[in-house]
Symmetry: C2
Subunit: 292 residues, 2 copies
């Protein structure tokens, strides 16, 4: 007999936007702190939906991560692959998907105890890499990324059942207020904004460049902004940003000469593995959402 999972977080079916309560914990931990996280940090993560932790990685480590990116982006056979996403206008490499499958160095990073020791504690479980990528927003013409909850997409398009995943961002360059850094709405992770409209198959090819579906309506964003405000995740290279899968976030364009490059990967609880996409579309490929 097939198990049928109830869809707690429907989206893209409504004519008008709907806000739903979050039915899952933010912090699953059974203790209030561990060797990697203070009690205050755990409380902050629960309340705001993110943590910005500077000085986690050394200058040498960051340099090695950057060199590895340059190396990968300079191999023509690799760059033509689907995992390499280019800027809409300039064809400069904007993202590399699944870099941990292309590089031992990045593979090791996704298992780093400084990250896993925090995430597995917060989720009170073993985790695996749901998605990984390097986001390289170039200087001068780096494009914006509109507001979204990652969970909305992962639930509808990939079949992630519940909110038990944390995004990990390792900064490889300065993240300044002016170079298109991550913006988050603290506290927004406690509500789920169901988005309006249907989603065509295979739209992921475009959405990795520019979001068009699973986009919250302007009125909801305005209400959320008035309640929560915006935090710009300014921090130096070598920082670790952890954020909940349902926190509302986005980024502006970058006309400054300062490129912004981050390693991003999502650790998902092994109890929260993907099922059939809740939006009914065919699943996206493994390099975007690990089903293995």
């Amino acid at each position: 007999m097939e198990m049928v999972l109830e869809d707690l977080y429907p989206s893209r079916v409504e004519q008008r936007p709907v806000w739903l309560d979050r039915e899952d914990p933010v912090v699953y931990a059974t203790e209030t702190s561990n060797e990697f996280l203070t009690e205050q940090q755990v409380k902050d993560f629960d309340k705001n939906g993110f943590l910005i932790i500077p000085d986690v990685f050394s200058k040498e480590e960051v340099e090695a991560y950057n060199n590895e990116f340059e190396r990968l982006a300079s191999i023509p056979e690799l760059v033509q692959k689907e995992e390499f996403i280019k800027e809409p206008e300039s064809q400069i490499v904007r993202s590399i998907f699944a870099p941990h499958k292309l590089s031992e160095l990045y593979q090791k990073l996704t298992n780093d105890p400084r990250i896993k020791g925090r995430v597995n504690f917060l989720l009170d479980d073993e985790t695996y890499v749901h998605q990984a990528r390097i986001n390289a927003k170039p200087g001068f013409n780096g494009k914006e990324f509109y507001w979204h909850s990652d969970f909305e997409t992962w639930h509808i398009e990939d079949g992630m059942p519940r909110m038990r995943a944390i995004s990990c961002l390792v900064t490889m360059t300065e993240n300044k207020s002016y170079n298109g850094s991550l913006m988050l709405m603290p506290g927004s992770h406690k509500k789920y904004v169901a988005c309006v409209g249907q989603t065509p198959d295979d739209h992921y090819k475009e959405s990795l460049r520019k979001q068009e579906y699973g986009v919250p309506d302007q009125e909801s964003l305005e209400t959320m902004y008035n309640r929560h405000g915006i935090t710009v995740a300014e921090c130096p290279p070598g920082s670790l940003i952890l954020f909940d899968c349902n926190v509302m976030h986005g980024s502006n364009s970058n006309i400054t000469p300062l490129a912004r490059r981050n390693i991003f990967f999502v650790l998902n609880s092994v109890k929260n593995r993907l099922v059939e996409p809740f939006g009914g579309m065919k699943p996206r490929p493994d390099f975007i959402a690990e089903r293995g």
Copy 2:
């Protein structure tokens, strides 16, 4: 006998970018301070090329300026005029040019002693309005404005002979780091970056929406950034930002719900009135560059 003015600041003629020294003072004042500006402020303006002064206009004044904008933008016969610039994609009013000719309130503002008392002191002369506009960068899809020196354009396209003009910006909303606020490179005003390439006639119609000509090269911007860094002009409503005509500036996009609206006008020394454009093109219309 016709006077021929030497062109101290040629641009858009070179195959490669050239940096020229500024041949004009930044501060023309004969005293070190006056009733509106401290000695430190005068020094800062000279050094950085701008001043950000909060609390110059009251809450009531700012409200009146905003209401006046809404009033003008709601008159259909006005909105279709060339003075009303719309966003490339959404047709929302992005700028109103020459608002001081449409509105007594704005007319009065361009003569406000809190502004003129500062600018005329710094330029040691009487001034007139060279250009005025209201920049209304909407929330959600406000577009970026690429790096440029205003003087480069005013010199080449409008025939402004020398650097003896100051831009005045009155903030009508919050200017935050995240809502596409003005970014300036402090100290960049002491060099003149001659831009590469020719400029077609009538290109102003497009350039008011999106800059394509008179754009500095990336290498020059990178060098300037490394020397000077970037200041984001964060400040509350009712602030006055004064900036030199040759300081390098621009702004990123605005995906936040917070619209950003400023009144902007340029006061030019009466000894620095426009002549024939140095780029050889036909002059732009009066609502962009006052020749009267």
